[in-house]
């Protein structure tokens, strides 16, 4: 039973990170029907920003929890700026182009950012400081779940709740929902669609940056390539849950994380990815729009 719980908590932590990144994929897709393949790189840039800021603050002698908070805030701002700029540079000029063009542009952006960070920083792995503080009450059950895992899961839950409330109850949230439903009509009723799209990118990038800093602090190392695999997995999670749906992204992330953890624990880590993607195939066969996705009726 303890083994099951350990695996469950590990899977939940991993799934939380997937969910945080998947939210960005799913929001962007919901609004402009684009798979933003550069999203994984935003997560990586968030982690790098966190590393630089944390290093700077440690030198200045800030206390541990302050470093964590400031590093996350800086990572969020910097990653949001990147998200905003990417949208303006790579997607906005292609808004009315065939659907394939922004997709190619997204892949190009992803490769560009990887190489840019590699050249600007280093291609080596870098150590990432442990920013998440240890809580005494957690240490007693440390073998099942550590403080870092608890913080990651709580941060994800908080982000998800916050995002849901934001979209439900604010004016911008309403505008986002309207744009997602029908961009042309939203424009006609006076919604600044460009602003809404930019806001979507900014919010999605912020969440990815939070995930980037938290996971980097948890596993203790980063390099320029971490965004690629995390991005692919998060994209899978978004599709699994039903791309375009926010609760779907969260559920997809958790399902994917738990599947991987249990596949590793009860079968073999050799088959981690095999089971993860087998699940994806099965879900897409029986529910083509994903777990929480809605079937779209074709307009005639």
């Amino acid at each position: 039973m303890e083994y099951f719980l350990e695996l469950f908590m590990g899977g939940l932590t991993r799934g939380s990170i997937y969910a945080l990144i998947a939210l960005g994929y799913t929001m962007v897709y919901g609004i402009i029907e684009l798979i933003n393949f550069a999203h994984g790189e935003i997560y990586m840039i968030g982690a790098f920003t966190g590393l630089i800021v944390a290093g700077l603050l440690t030198m200045l002698g800030f206390p541990g929890y302050a470093i964590l908070v400031i590093a996350i805030v800086c990572a969020v701002i910097w990653a949001a700026a990147y998200g905003f700029t990417i949208e303006k540079m790579a997607y906005k000029p292609l808004r009315n182009a065939p659907r394939l063009s922004p997709l190619i542009s997204a892949i190009g952006m992803s490769i560009f950012l990887q190489n840019y960070v590699m050249l600007a920083q280093t291609s080596d792995f870098l150590p990432f400081p442990e920013l998440i503080p240890h809580f005494a009450f957690m240490e007693k059950m440390g073998s099942i779940m550590s403080s870092a895992e608890l913080v990651i899961i709580l941060a994800t839950v908080a982000s998800c709740v916050g995002l849901t409330l934001f979209i439900k109850f604010t004016k911008l949230g309403k505008a986002m929902r309207a744009t997602a439903q029908n961009r042309k009509m939203a424009m006609l009723v006076g919604i600044n669609v460009d602003m809404v799209i930019s806001a979507t990118f900014v919010i999605g990038s912020s969440l990815a940056a939070v995930g980037g800093v938290l996971i980097a602090s948890h596993i203790g190392q980063i390099n320029y390539y971490i965004g690629f695999i995390a991005g692919i997995k998060a994209f899978t999670a978004a599709v699994l849950g039903g791309i375009g749906s926010l609760p779907g992204a969260m559920l997809g992330g958790l399902v994917l994380g738990l599947t991987e953890a249990f596949a590793t624990g009860y079968v073999s880590s050799d088959y981690e990815d095999v089971f993860a993607f087998l699940l994806l195939v099965l879900i897409l066969i029986f529910r083509p729009s994903g777990i929480m996705g809605k079937e779209k009726t074709q307009k005639v």
Binding site: Y3, E6, L7, G10, G11, T13, R14, I17, Y18, D124, F125, L126, P127, G142, S143, S146, A148, E149, I215, H218, I219, G220, Q221, N223, Y225, I226, F228, I229, A230, K233, E260, A261, F262, T264, G265, S268, S269, D270, E272, D273
Partner: protein, 391 residues
């Protein structure tokens, strides 16, 4: 119709080429027999040709060219001292680009030129392809870099020697070391890659063959995965008393960090992909106490220092990979000629197995299978942020 015609033409051309190659090989064999008789009559020719085969162009040239430089330096040194039994050593490089099909050409060329000793080849695949030709011509071959175990262990090629330890030697040392720590149950983890999984499989093989130690887990992890907590839990629940990891440092540091955070203080042992200062930098305090095997450190050997200095003086750069091994191989080959009093095949082989020679990689001779005794790997442990050899 035209396509068919050109296909037939192509087949004909290919058949003709094959026939031509076959003919050539036969002629070489004949030449070679004649040559044998000749060398038998003339005990010490005035010129001793040392063939150097390997990748001297193409994308793997950086592995092959240091061997040529090493051979040239050794030849210069020995010629300055009066040569081998009065014969001047001449270095003849032959390029195979590490491609098996070119390696067989190189071997045929060296055979037809009546070369008796060859330093090379560089890559295991090319070496394997060329070995039967050398064997048929009774040419003694010594590689500084071909680490594929069966090359020596199959026992098929008594003419093949090497100054580098084979791939499985590291695994054998790792398992012996695990036993010396008193471990009974070991978890073997690898990164599914050629290098990491190969190493892990050799470890598994040695552990399976040993009744005193048992393997409780053999699994691959996916490089680059977000975290390895599930694998760490699995190691814990397997009851392993130690972990052997095959792969490189990014995965190793993630796994060892995860283990230490879950209060698992069992020994963590790995290979020379982890015996790297980046590992210590990334894993930080969690790296303390980690064991890793790696090539022996020869930098304190005066002959090694002399060879490197000679390279710097002549070529103006630091030597590349496998330079000390190649330098040692050239010394060992020429010493065998000297001890054998000529290039008689059996006598040279005998000399390589029996007489010691001082080289940059230590004082070596070769075991019954052709691996150099004494070269190989050592166990290192991270102590105070540095790898220190475990004596």
């Amino acid at each position: 119709m035209r396509v068919k015609l050109s296909l037939i033409a192509l087949c004909l051309v290919m058949a003709a080429m094959l026939a031509a190659c076959g003919g050539e090989a036969k002629k070489d064999e004949k030449n070679d027999k004649k040559a044998d008789v000749e060398t038998g009559e003339v005990a010490a020719p005035a010129k001793l040709v040392l063939g150097v085969a390997g990748a001297h162009s193409g994308d793997l040239a950086s592995y092959g060219l240091p061997t040529v430089n090493a051979a040239k330096l050794v030849a210069e040194k020995i010629n300055a001292a009066g040569g081998v039994n009065g014969a001047m050593v001449e270095v003849v490089p032959q390029d195979d680009q590490c491609k098996p099909e070119l390696a067989t050409n190189v071997a045929t060329k060296l055979l037809s030129d009546d070369v008796k000793i060859v330093l090379g080849h560089i890559c295991s695949g090319a070496t394997k392809a060329a070995l039967p030709i050398y064997l048929s011509g009774k040419i003694v071959l010594m590689s500084p870099s071909a680490t594929n175990p069966p090359l020596t262990q199959s026992g098929e090629y008594p003419n093949f020697f090497r100054t580098i330890a084979p791939d499985d030697a590291q695994a054998a040392l790792e398992v012996a070391f695990a036993k010396s720590l008193g471990l009974k149950k070991v978890a073997i983890i690898h990164d599914k890659g050629d290098y990491g999984k190969g190493f892990a499989s050799f470890c598994k093989q040695f552990i399976d063959a040993d009744p005193d130690i048992e393997q409780v887990l053999f699994e691959g992890v996916t490089p680059g995965a977000v975290d390895y907590s599930a694998v760490v839990q699995k190691i814990k629940s397997s009851g392993a008393e130690g972990v052997i990891f095959g792969g490189y440092h990014p995965e190793a540091s993630k796994i060892v960090t995860g283990m230490r955070k879950k209060d698992m203080d069992i020994p963590f042992m790995s290979d020379d992909g982890v015996k790297d200062d980046t590992f210590i930098k990334v894993a930080g305090k969690y790296a303390e106490g980690v064991y890793a095997t790696g090539p022996m450190d020869f930098s304190a050997n005066p002959l090694y220092q002399e060879a490197v200095a000679a390279h710097k003086a002549k070529f103006g750069t630091d030597p590349g990979p496998f330079f000390p091994e190649a330098y040692s191989a050239a010394l060992a080959l020429l010493n065998a000629v000297k001890v054998a009093g000529g290039t008689d095949y059996d006598k040279m082989i005998d000399a390589l197995h029996t007489s010691y020679v001082e080289t940059p990689v230590g004082k070596i001779k070769f075991d019954a299978k052709g691996d150099a005794e004494g070269v190989g790997f050592a166990v290192y442990q991270v102590k105070d942020g540095k790898y220190a050899e475990v004596k």
